[in-house]
């Protein structure tokens, strides 16, 4: 705590210096894409997230994992001001979300919308441009081209005119991903983008995430499959109403931490952790 660099701006001093304490340490606070400071979130007075303190490294794939009801989605929603915070503050590149939301792309859970809605894939992706287009103005050609390019990136350009109910689950997920890409953000939040998708889509999504990372973007992914955690993510947030552990995957994805995160709730997960521990020893 004592070896902080001097910080000239008062705003940053408030927002960032504190949270560096729990962060992985080495990155410069000024460039931190996301700093969460002492955030508590409650639904109907029942706390869902307690005292979240976190400082994200830039340009990483960051997995948010934890059991059902751990508050993974809530964490994302609280950062994006979609649910009210009981206390605490969140800074995106040093400023409140309100001022820096153009730097943020969001992929909600696929089930959160009605896929029978009368729009086609391109229309949905074009929504990613609405923030740039501004109020009351129509979607113009350049924006539609940008949307098409985003669809192309997820390998769905030929399905642009397909009504969204006629897409498979994996394709719908890719449409959502393309919409976030069309937002052209620097930091992305994705809520279970790999839930219920086929293997091909999973591979495609991961490839795009890695693309984003090599482009210097920071990507947060709410994830549920412990099997693939080590393969996909550089950094982890192990969450169960509070942050159990956070840091580089190689350091925090341990049997101990998993047990703390998932508690005794699921013996299967303990077994998975066991297997993980054995694997670590063998190597």
């Amino acid at each position: 705590m004592g070896v902080m660099k001097p910080i000239s701006e008062a705003r940053q001093e408030q927002g960032v210096t504190e949270s560096v304490r729990v962060a992985t340490g080495s990155e410069h606070p000024r460039t931190s894409p996301l700093s969460i400071h002492d955030m508590t979130v409650a639904y109907h007075r029942r706390p869902v997230l307690w005292d979240i303190d976190f400082d994200a490294p830039e340009g990483k794939l960051i997995g948010i994992i934890g059991p059902n009801g751990a508050g993974k989605s809530t964490l994302v929603k609280a950062v994006l001001d979609l649910v009210p915070k009981a206390s605490g503050r969140v800074l995106i590149y040093g400023k409140p979300y309100r001022l820096h939301r153009h730097l943020v792309g969001y992929v909600p859970q696929r089930e959160s919308v009605d896929w029978d809605f009368p729009v086609n894939a391109l229309d949905v992706v074009a929504m990613g441009r609405y923030g740039q287009i501004g109020w009351c103005l129509p979607v113009t050609r350049p924006h539609r081209d940008a949307a098409l390019a985003a669809l192309e990136r997820v390998g769905m350009a030929d399905l642009a005119r397909r009504q969204i109910s006629q897409l498979s689950g994996g394709q719908q997920q890719r449409v959502f991903l393309a919409r976030a890409l069309a937002q052209d953000a620097r930091i992305y939040f994705m809520d279970e983008p790999l839930a219920g998708v086929d293997a091909a889509t999973e591979a495609a999504v991961i490839r795009i995430l890695q693309d984003l990372r090599s482009g210097g973007k920071t990507v947060f992914v709410v994830h549920h499959d412990l099997q693939t955690v080590q393969e996909y993510f550089d950094t982890l947030i192990l969450l169960n109403m509070r942050i159990v552990a956070t840091g580089p995957t190689s350091e925090v994805f341990t049997r101990d931490n998993l047990q703390k995160t998932y508690g005794g709730r699921l013996t299967l997960l303990e077994e998975a952790a066991e297997a993980m521990a054995r694997k670590g020893k063998d190597e």
Binding site: K77, L80, D81, L82, R98, R101, V104, Y106, P108, S112, V113, D114, F117, P118, V119, N120, D123, V124, M127, Y130, G131, I133, W135, C136, P138, V139, Q163, S165, R179
Partner: protein
């Protein structure tokens, strides 16, 4: 569900109106219009008819537009609550205005009262939902019934209070289109224009609000404000429509046109336009009809017209209409039948010892296959097989001899080769990639191969057919089942055949 309920309500009020004797107990006849009356209405010669028809047309237009967004936002029941909640406001406004010494039936005043209590009802629903653990449907039900009940009671009280000519307030319940004045039509025009403008300028905002409100919020849009604007428009349309169609049926004009429009298109902007057109047409035709036939309540007629358009859309709508789906199903059935026929013809020849090349060779004249032989190939009825053969003959794929036997034409053989090839490619894929036992693969392949497009076929080729030269039919990966039955092979024999084939393929 909601739609059918409102339609029922409309029919009910229509019937009761038809049955209700107003002149004498025995007189329940309807006076049908003469030819002269008909032309007067159609040409809009009467000033009154013109006002009423134009007013309801614009009302239908407005409800069609804003109703689309309301329906997609899943707020249909909220619209119903708002319309029912206007009644006590109308009653209270009447009392206040009469007590104040004014004209108790001053329409803008009554509508203002309705507007305020409608908004209050909506606010109460939101309050109940947020501050208690009651679910939304309970909140809606409570507010709707309490407000409507209070309103009906208030009307009763007003009758008893003897506050002058209170008669006519009930017309807000069922509507009384004929009483529409030019000023009322103008009011409707203003609201309709406001609705249209708002939906043009806020089109993409409303689109995201309806499709994915949390995404809209993440963009920083004031979702609550947008929601309020949208529902505000719904309330405005509801209130100005009270006089025309009544508070029970106005919801039908908000729901039925967009529900009908959904059958015609998968595109939101087109859906809004079609919905507006259906709403306007319902208003036009409904008001016209009720002008023709005295004592037909216009509100109910308008809704009945709208529901007729709904049923037409449900049947004939190209996007998801019943007929389109039936037709698609019928086409697939035919396609599957055709492919089964061609494959059976092909495999019969194959079993008869013809090599694939010989079967497919365009110059060979084809071999006759007798009807009973073909019938034994699959479990199809003679009638079905005859139908399939007749249709294949019409398309020039098979020729038939007088004794009922048939042979494939050159084009038929080419088509058969393609069909069989697809089938076997798919079988190979299932065996090599999906681990399905060769003995079961035929049936599994049967289900899928018919929907294989050219693109999937190419993928299949890349996956499994690399070892087969282009345009050749691979040998069947399993014994042809029909043959085993006829030749009296046991299942062991069949397995042996399969094993040999699979081994031969390496």
């Amino acid at each position: 569900m909601r739609v059918s309920l409102t339609i029922l309500t409309a029919w009910f009020s229509l019937e009761s109106a038809l049955a209700a004797p107003t002149r004498s107990i025995t007189d329940s006849s309807i006076e049908w219009p003469s030819g002269d009356q008909l032309t007067r209405v159609i040409t809009l010669r009467d000033y009154n008819t013109r006002v009423v028809v134009l007013g309801t047309l614009l009302l239908g237009l407005a409800t069609g537009i804003i109703g689309t967004f309301m329906l997609l936002r899943r707020r249909a029941l909220m619209g119903d609550v708002v319309s029912h909640a206007t009644l006590p406001g109308i009653g209270l406004a009447f009392i206040v205005m009469t007590r104040g010494g004014g004209d108790g039936k001053f329409l803008p005043g009554l509508l203002l009262g309705g507007l305020l209590s409608g908004l209050l009802g909506m606010g109460l629903v939101l309050l109940i939902r947020h501050s208690t653990r009651l679910k939304e449907d309970a909140a809606l039900g409570i507010v709707l019934s309490v407000f409507f009940g209070f309103g009906v009671a208030l009307l009763g009280v007003i009758q008893k209070m003897n506050l002058g000519h209170a008669a006519g307030l009930e017309s807000f319940i069922y509507g009384k289109t004929a009483s529409m004045l030019a000023s009322d039509a103008q009011r409707i025009a203003v609201v309709a224009a406001a609705v249209a403008l708002a939906c043009v300028f806020l089109f993409k905002e409303f689109e995201v609000l309806c499709f994915d409100p949390s995404f809209a919020a993440s963009l920083g849009w004031p979702v609550v404000l947008l929601d309020a604007a949208m529902m505000g428009l719904v309330v405005a349309v509801t209130v100005i429509g009270l006089q025309a169609v009544g508070l029970i049926l106005i919801i039908a004009l908000l729901i039925i046109p967009p529900a009908a429009a959904r059958f015609w298109t998968h595109h939101l902007s087109r859906m809004v336009i079609i919905s507006a057109a259906i709403g306007a047409a319902s208003g036009l035709v409904g008001a016209g009809l009720s002008a023709l036939v005295p004592r037909l309540p216009a509100g109910a007629i308008i809704v009945v017209v709208a529901s007729s358009l709904f049923f037409l859309s449900m049947l004939f709508g190209p996007a998801r209409g019943v007929l389109v789906r039936l037709l698609a199903h019928y086409r697939l059935e035919n396609k599957v039948g055709r492919q089964h026929l061609l494959r059976s013809l092909y495999e019969t020849l194959e079993e008869a010892g013809q090599s694939p090349e010989a079967v497919a060779a365009p110059e060979s004249r084809g071999v006759e296959i007798s009807f009973p032989l073909l019938l034994a190939e699959r479990s199809w009825s003679p009638r079905r097989l005859r139908k399939l053969l007749a249709s294949a003959q019409r398309d020039g794929l098979v020729e038939r001899t007088p004794d009922g036997a048939c042979r494939m034409t050159g084009r038929g053989r080419e088509e058969a080769r393609r069909v069989v090839r697809n089938h076997r490619l798919w079988e190979m894929y299932l065996i090599t990639h999906a681990d399905i036992a060769p003995s079961h693969v035929d049936r599994d392949a049967d289900l899928v191969e018919h929907v294989l497009g050219p693109e999937m076929t190419r993928k299949l080729e890349a996956l499994v057919a690399a070892r087969y030269p282009e345009l050749r039919v691979p040998p069947s990966p399993h014994a042809l089942q029909h043959m085993t039955g006829r030749a009296g092979l046991t299942s062991q024999d069949r397995m042996a055949v399969e094993g040999r084939r699979l081994k031969a393929e390496g």
